[in-house]
Subunit: 550 residues, 2 copies
Amino acid sequence: MLSTMQDSPLLISRILHHGTTVHGDGEVITWTGDEPRHTPYAALAGRVAQLAAGLRELGITGDQRVGTFQWNNVEHMEAYLAVPSMGAVLHTINIRLFPEQVTYVVNHAEDHVVLVDATLLPLFAHVLPSCETVRHVVVVGADPHAELDFEPPSGVRVHHYEQLLEGRPTSFDWPELDERCAAAMCYTSGTTGNPKGVVYSHRSITLHSMQVGMTDAMGLEPGDLSLAIVPMFHAMSWGLPYAALTMGASLIMPDRFLQPEPLVEMISRLRPTKAAAVPTIWQGVLQHLDAAPADVSSLREVLVGGAACPPSLMRTFEERFGISIIHGWGMTETSPLGSIARPPATVSGEQRWAYRESQGRTTAGVQARIIGDDDEELPRDGKSVGEIQVRGPWVTGDYYDPHGLERAENAAKFHDGWLRTGDVGTISPDGYLRLTDRAKDVIKSGGEWISSVELENLVMANAAVSEAMVVGVPDEKWSERPLVAVVLREGAQASPEELRESLRGSIPDWQLPEHWTFIEEAPKTSVGKFDKKRLRQSHTEGTLTVHHLR
Amino acid sequence: MLSTMQDSPLLISRILHHGTTVHGDGEVITWTGDEPRHTPYAALAGRVAQLAAGLRELGITGDQRVGTFQWNNVEHMEAYLAVPSMGAVLHTINIRLFPEQVTYVVNHAEDHVVLVDATLLPLFAHVLPSCETVRHVVVVGADPHAELDFEPPSGVRVHHYEQLLEGRPTSFDWPELDERCAAAMCYTSGTTGNPKGVVYSHRSITLHSMQVGMTDAMGLEPGDLSLAIVPMFHAMSWGLPYAALTMGASLIMPDRFLQPEPLVEMISRLRPTKAAAVPTIWQGVLQHLDAAPADVSSLREVLVGGAACPPSLMRTFEERFGISIIHGWGMTETSPLGSIARPPATVSGEQRWAYRESQGRTTAGVQARIIGDDDEELPRDGKSVGEIQVRGPWVTGDYYDPHGLERAENAAKFHDGWLRTGDVGTISPDGYLRLTDRAKDVIKSGGEWISSVELENLVMANAAVSEAMVVGVPDEKWSERPLVAVVLREGAQASPEELRESLRGSIPDWQLPEHWTFIEEAPKTSVGKFDKKRLRQSHTEGTLTVHHLR
């Protein structure tokens, strides 16, 4: 028996219509380094239609891919809306990939048109000759009357973004698509092997946007002014661009001004109420505020994800600035919000921190389970440790593989219809996920597991330590033992012995690490996470000075 | 190009799983007149599985209909979850329909099993002989050892609810259904003609539940204790039962204790944070609090709908108790939440009331437009008045009509894929819906429209007036003129002249009504709305004493 409900698809063109009419007074505010550029949502509607018409003019039809090589700015937002709404597929290219990886993803996605920020043109020009399918490059933000210092390869035409839009109609007859069609794609940063493409649908993006507005998730509100620091080429800026239009929240886009100093200036001048970024950004902001105090009090809540946030950082922001740093957990494959660490309403005081430091509860759309070594589901008892697997309507069930060349490799990432997250942890009886490590970073010492993340957090709680990274290194007797790489705070001093002693009592003695090294800077991936592969490599190559304690 | 997202259907069995695991410490609290009965969500899971097994045993297969003739209580909640999750269709029968309407809806839906509260058994026994498809009656809440004072017609078997569940397995292999399948059905109360069936899908209910948890809608939060006064047989209790499990909010179910006195006792003892009910309930609560003060301060927000709330009532609750009465707009056909009157974040003080008194903004899932007499869309200028039409994934596109007998009649309720709401009003440039009247209640006077609702609100703002109803009555010169029927507050006095004078200045003089009548009680429909049809009828029959002013 069918329902009588309307067969009304969940489409990005509907989000566009809602945001630009019901919330037409919301706006995108793009930072230019010294001034904000304001674009009201009501005005966005016309420009998005013009962009779609311009892309049609360049030959974009059907589900062809349009790449973006851009910072977070209003033009990138226009592409976010125009490309999927017209039925094409938005491919947000991660500008921080290695050049050969950029070439790989552009060719793999078969991008026909790429929108490139003028400030990123030199970087993109470098890879363009090896991009096989690109026919048009549209340069955003360049002076249309000045000559571009850029010679495209033959067969590639170059356009100015504003000229592409100019004079075109400000309305577009958005097609009524199947909600399961591809809307956007994003490649994982691929610490091993080639990047893998996750293809979001109109449906998954719409559902995820609703989740961002739900009280048990990010709780984005109408009238919120949300600062999207997390790049639009990184898991769709955690869904903020679409969610902001869905909820009637305004967006602050920092463009390329992501260093602590301009970020702090932007925050104190534009007064966002919410923000989203990886923990290392807030670490930098805090250090800058220590040196040059500024008013960041407009921020009420800050969503962090991509890596566990050092508890000490969360407490400092809460105590000094009244800003709640909220842990989210997810990945490109989960759109990305999978769970959020809001404590139960019944818990108060210091107890809240145990929940705040977890990865939180999944929202109703995402199911999580933990699977042990023997592929059996483990109990939700807060103790049993296994691989976290998730499923749900905004969780990927595969990777983009148009020619079926990576089938076996991709299949290994899924288990019985569930995504294998590669994260290891527990689920408590009251539903809280606690990650103890990445499956590949867990240190297997004498048959027991040591969490590299837990060790890092404990070491980073030491006032002398700015950052700490832990990897497993081979050990004849124990198979693996932890190596701790420490970045000391400027001017601070601490010996390996002192650092180890400060851990005693917090972990079982057998876990106390004996291998320590001091480094100038922690190696990070393109998305700001600790790059443990590089640390392991340095260790293997013998370029680290390691202190071995007894 | 298809997305790589999982094909994960939006199902009520998923809501059940989420609510009873991640939020297993939430609970349903059923009021018994003097004590609460607590059922933790974790315990609900097993009982819901047992109910499904029991219904299978009674022969329920496929999409057969299971009727409920129940108050708001935990057993009704169990039916809400078990019936759709097993693939059958829940039919919530409105116990306040006239007996011949109950017979009509049971036969129209072809209910095979009906769950009946013991306290409602006498009422249901009266209609059962004329119900053609019912084979089993399951009595809820009766003493299993006492004889039921009830003789079923031949061919109908009677069961005790707890005996039906007893000893059955506490898990059930919920089928993986198509999300567009029917999950539940609800008949409109049908002020004209037969009731019409709206059939909700798993998809529409899931999406609506997410909306209830969104900050721009009801904003239901994990840990909220929500009092569902609106009956579960009335537009699915405005979606609260499913939304509570989705969000991890607890539910207070008042059973049959809906009079002001027990409601106030329940509120002061159980301390709900949120509640939902039609305005007349709150009018009664206020009168009771005037006579017998009690602590209702736990309530933060109260959602009202089903009829416009008198602004004076909203202000009184806010000023005296700190309780925000929030206007929602919707109907059985819209699941029911279509829009909610939360003012823009930028508006403060007295200005907020203009927004609070509107019907609010639609959320992202619902699109609204206003259509004029010539079927043209009117501008969103806050002035152009026309019929409100809506569409969206939780808006009905038809009525249940299994044999195609009502096709023409049903088609008239839709226009080009949009639902004709029968409400007349405006949409402002910032997206706020303001209803001025029901299409059929608008008073057409000399070619101009007079809103009966606006007049009612103005008359009710007078301290002497408890309730006021306005209908159009025939007029030779003007075609129609308003007739005001007034219920005076106990002990209060006011003449028609005084009442008319108090309106001067608030509306154009030509709208000032000249026909007035005083009544003991306002006639109401089964769902507590003013029954204007009965007032018009009394006027036609000449049973009212009407004062005609000059």
